[in-house]
């Protein structure tokens, strides 16, 4: 999995969690919370959907790694690739 593919996975999850958000213009380097109206319950759901759909575990202490699409890609891509 490439970092770009990883970003798309995260966007797909967000699309399911918050279907009324405009995701087309999301800037990868800017914090997701600043561009989208996601609350703490939504963020928890991103983590849980990663586990449910992709078997990826994100410990609570590392939730901060998911702050932006870029940081998601940095943090999650190796985890995806470790699964194969």
């Amino acid at each position: 999995m490439s970092k770009d593919e990883c970003k798309q996975v995260v966007l797909d999850i967000i699309a399911e969690i918050a279907p009324d958000e405009e995701l087309g213009d999301v800037k990868p380097e800017v914090a997701l919370r600043e561009q989208l109206d996601l609350d703490s319950m939504d963020f928890l759901d991103i983590v849980m959907e990663l586990r449910k759909k992709h078997g990826i575990e994100v410990p609570e202490s590392e939730y901060g790694q998911l702050v932006s699409l870029d940081s998601c890609a940095e943090y999650l891509t190796p985890k995806f690739n470790a699964l194969v």
Partner: protein, 466 residues
């Protein structure tokens, strides 16, 4: 022995919502419900071929879709349900009616504000200060300290009439405490009623429950009706086993109970060691439902959806001394929601009043029926004081009638004293002295249809999903 990740006690709004969250994320979950019908304190039934709602006058928290943080929109996202499925229709308009004074409000807050300005012009600045305090309150943390709502309101508003008129709907919809409430709770109720507003599906609460149950089923959740939990066997600080009414034993890692706080404690065997045993709620209600062949618009009453009324100098929200307290109450006309082209078919008027549980509990079946007959016309007369002169004659035109009392609520929900709004002290974070037993629903603190769903979701998230 059957084994689950999570056992949920109660198939009401909070239990089913919690179940959806847990099942969606792969937990093996079972909801146990003693009644044959789902819905709990907000259930539905049929009588003589007519469909009735148990608790529902209106769903509060009817926020606009653009209010992303509003509870309704949060629960729709969390449950992966679309707003359209609930088929909610907005109210036409409501009113707080005290002697000689009306304050109208609807789903647009500016109406209420302009009414306060119209009736209490010298209080408008104080009122706006109160509204700002409500907006500024951070309700995201569960553990805020108690603050008297009356004292906060009195800091802003000096006219006791306005103060009482603000509290009246918030208390009736619904407070479990007499006279006053926690300011945090006040802000939740104020937002849900005045900022957000009322709505109702054409078919009533059953439509909402149907959507929830379908979602739960799709997620693979299991539900057992006519299956009450008789006992929670505890040891080493945990629930080890659930014993059903049938005697069957169930094992679960986590138990999430919507049965109520004192009710859940009472299930535990041996008893939970606790400094103060939770008390049952003291506030009970009666409600008289009248059905007419013709629509209420022909009664000459206008479009009022809900009328919160009080006839006394000061509004008293307290356990009733008499079997029924006629000094205040709520009138609900379910026809007066904007259903578009459709309507309810028949005219329905619901009148609610505070009631004394002990009185109703003391009557044998014959006396109970006689008492209901006696109070029926009195409740109608009580409501008429706050409605325009009408052309409708109850005696000759009412074609069907039903009435519930606190004992009715107790019979079908097993809530102590039939307390619809639950115990006065809530467990805001849902925890109990037992490490795997948690509370959701009315006694966790979020009230109303949306509130209960949010409670189930929040408690499932916090205690069973991490």
């Amino acid at each position: 022995m059957e084994r689950y990740d999570v056992a949920i006690i109660g198939a009401g709004m909070s239990g089913i919502a919690a179940g959806i969250r847990l099942a969606h994320f792969g937990k093996k979950v079972c909801i146990f419900e003693r009644h044959y019908a789902p819905g709990g304190l907000n259930s539905f039934y049929a009588k003589d071929g007519r469909k009735y709602d148990v608790g529902l006058h209106a769903m509060t928290n009817f926020a606009d879709p653009s209010e992303r943080r509003a509870p309704l929109n949060r629960i729709l996202r969390q449950l992966r349900i679309s707003r359209d499925e609930l088929r909610l229709c907005p109210q036409k308009g409501s009113r707080v009616a005290f002697p000689g004074v009306d304050l109208r409000f609807d789903n647009d807050f500016s109406l209420f504000e302009s009414e306060v300005d119209r009736v209490f012009p010298e209080q408008i600045d104080g009122f706006r200060k109160l509204v700002q305090a409500v907006r500024d309150f951070d309700d995201s943390e569960f553990d805020y300290p108690y603050r008297s709502a009356r004292s906060v309101v009195r800091d802003c508003v000096s006219d006791p009439l306005l103060e009482d008129m603000i509290f009246c709907p918030l208390m009736y919809y619904g407070s479990s405490t007499e006279d006053d409430m926690d300011f945090g709770q006040f802000t939740i109720m104020f937002k849900s009623i005045f900022f957000e507003g009322f709505a109702r599906p054409l078919d009533g609460i059953r439509n909402i429950i149907k959507v929830l149950l379908q979602r739960y089923r799709e997620c693979g959740g299991i539900r057992k009706m006519n299956t009450g939990v008789a006992r929670l066997e505890t040891s080493e600080g945990k629930v080890q086993r659930l014993i059903l009414d049938s005697g069957d034993e169930i094992q679960a890692d986590v138990v999430l109970s919507s049965a109520g706080l004192p009710e859940t404690f009472a299930l535990c065997s041996p008893d939970i060691e606790n400094d103060s045993q939770p008390q049952a709620g003291r506030l009970g209600f009666v409600e008289s439902i009248s059905v007419f062949e013709r629509q209420p618009e022909s009664f000459g009453w206008g479009d009022d959806t809900i009328v919160f009324f009080n006839a006394n100098e000061r509004f008293q929200y307290r356990e009733s001394q008499d079997a029924v307290d006629l000094s205040s109450g709520v009138i609900c006309i379910p026809n007066n929601f904007d259903y578009g082209e459709e309507n309810l078919g028949e005219g329905v008027v619901r009148v609610t009043a505070l009631a004394n549980y002990d009185s109703w509990k003391s009557y044998d079946p014959e006396l109970y029926a006689a008492k209901k007959e006696r109070w029926r016309p009195k409740m109608w007369e009580s409501a008429k004081r706050f409605l325009p002169e009408s052309a409708v004659d109850w005696e000759s035109e009412c074609i069907a009638h039903d009435m519930f009392t606190p004992t009715t609520v107790q019979r079908y929900t097993w809530r102590d004293r039939g307390a619809i709004y639950g115990a006065p002290r809530k467990t805001k974070d849902g925890t109990t002295p037992l490490s795997n037993l948690f509370i959701c629903g009315t006694d966790q603190g979020f009230l109303g249809i949306v509130g209960s769903m949010l409670s189930g979701i929040a408690m499932a998230n916090a205690h069973a999903l991490r």
